[in-house]
Point group: C2
Chain length 348, copies 2
């Protein structure tokens, strides 16, 4: 039994005494304790060494006091396991060599067996579960098929996303074939993570927001739905965070997820009114508010709580990952503010 | 009298026989004729030499056949005129030296007199008007106060917009003082452009979409409204293009603009339903569709026309600036498709 299961109850819209909070990229560079590990090991070594991944996964539970852990890893371990060469280049971001540009390359990519190809992640999940001693739930995650394909075709980050757009407009069949393969891999990977002990799953659709609404439906939404339908789970909740996707929220609420994550440009109260109470919402403080003083942070956190309003089904988070130069004291302050100030929204 | 005034009539929701089209950044690198000029002169020299600015402004009218010209210039000429040192660094984007970070720096910036400090732009407008021989209208433009302040505080482009966010959260009074000064400068600059012959104005709020809704109201929207209220004009229409601003559209429609520009993630029909027929809409084809073949370009262009639907008040454009590696033949094709296929939406 997990001692603090507020996060899991909030995902299921069950009664809670206060709003739970966790923070995207909470195991990250803003923590000196993380940097101390990172200084000794490169990023991918940390992902691939269960002891190191476990250590940094648990840091924010001890130091910041968040209500859930999220396994330290990277979404690009899947393309690597599918056969692409991955490198993390300091201060430049990820690089995938020989980016996918045609059907022959798509055909050369493999269907993964996560228990072999990504065993190190499953080992990290198991070890983390053990070391967490059931204090808080553990979240496993993956990129969405669209977001992973974007990286695989661009070969890394991108400014204008020219290559991925050329690919879907000029080779739509190849794109759909690749998306189907990625979807199966993501589903197997997430099922294996649950099997290894993950209590919840978050799917990051980081690049869904670069698409028009029709293209989002065709190239992203249906594949997230496919992943969700294929995941083997008991009652582990699934969160979909589609950054920049301000549209088709009713459709997004109907693909089988338990929670929608929202970025800071969205109005929680508007979204809640629109899609009704069928699904929980996660978010959505502007990550840069953590640059402000404690008073302003408190004011803005309360604004987010008020925006969601009374009742269950809200998980507090930032609207995007925490930035690396944030002062950890400000994060602790935020967590304390949310824990204290949210009680009033959960009175019977 | 302007011979082809379809664009101006569309801005005012007057009857038109077909939908007019122009393209953001239409005077740009995708045109070999532009690159031929650019190869001989640096970017700022082109902005500051009326003959060169006029030449590239008129190129897309002759070559592509768009229904409006937009004066070749850059939004950062205003910060430069206010006293900042501006440099355009090849393939790296703009750099503003000694970025603004405190109230003392704000106080050191000057109120501009556009007839002196930006005379070269006004000369370019006058010369272009002359050389256009009234074939199509000429659009003048500016960045919004928020977007200009973002560049002035960041010192150029940005990934996380950390500095501008620190500035507004920790020094809001300095930010508002700077926004007021920029607003007056932008209004005077745009009034002078109209005086020099500009037939319409577009205000680019390129960075409005990085703000939460409350912050957008406080730091961007009210200053665009201030600019519009201060501009001296007869019936020259004003377009506001706030990229990524998918929220507060009713508020945006009520600040005195004639047209709202929309990016490609928006649904024209939804927006038209929401804000009613009080204002025209401009947009919003995904710029990367121009990487596709002619058939797909036609299909997607018709989708945009259908999305707006029957009746006046639509100006066709991309949802963002055209990318530099687009084939001009594809752009000509798009223009022809819009000219031909839009007639049916304007039958009485």
């Amino acid at each position: 039994m997990i001692k603090n299961d507020l996060f899991l109850r909030a995902c299921k819209k069950l009664p809670i005494e206060r709003t739970p909070i966790w923070i995207m990229r909470q195991a990250g560079r803003y923590l000196p304790e993380y940097r101390a590990v990172r200084d000794k090991h490169d990023f991918l070594t940390m992902c691939k060494t269960p002891e190191l991944a476990t250590e940094v996964t648990i840091q924010p539970i001890d130091i910041i006091g968040v209500d859930a852990a999220i396994i330290f890893s990277d979404i690009l371990v899947i393309p690597e396991a599918m056969g692409m060469k991955l490198e993390m280049i300091e201060s430049k971001g990820p690089k995938l060599y020989d980016p996918i540009r045609n059907i022959q390359q798509v055909k050369s990519l493999k269907k993964i067996d996560p228990t072999k190809d990504l065993k190190y992640v499953l080992d990290a999940v198991e070890l983390t579960k053990k070391e967490l001693t059931n204090r808080v739930p553990l979240i496993g995650f993956s990129g969405s098929p669209w977001t992973l394909m974007t990286y695989m075709v661009e070969g890394g980050g991108s400014k204008n996303f020219s290559e991925i757009k050329k690919f879907i407009y000029n080779q739509p069949e190849a794109a759909h074939q690749l998306l189907n393969l990625i979807s199966e891999n993501v589903a197997d990977y997430l099922s294996a993570k649950i099997e290894a002990g993950a209590d919840a799953i978050q799917i990051f659709d980081t690049w869904g927001g670069i698409l028009s609404q029709d293209d989002f439906k065709e190239f992203s939404l249906q594949y997230i739905q496919k992943v969700i339908s294929l995941i083997k789970r008991n009652d582990e909740p699934i969160i979909v965070f589609a950054k920049g996707v301000h549209f088709l929220l009713n459709e997004l609420a109907n693909i089988g997820a338990d929670v929608i994550g929202l970025d800071w440009t969205m109005d929680l109260s508007e979204v809640r009114n629109k899609i009704g109470d069928k699904i929980s919402l996660q978010g959505n403080l502007d990550p840069t508010v953590l640059y402000a003083n404690h008073e302003k942070i408190k004011e803005e956190a309360i604004k987010v709580l008020k925006s969601y309003g009374n009742g269950n089904g809200h998980i507090f988070n930032l609207g995007h990952g925490i930035l690396p130069d944030i002062n950890p004291e400000n994060v602790k302050h935020l967590v304390n503010v949310v824990k204290e100030e949210s009680k009033i929204f959960h009175k019977q």
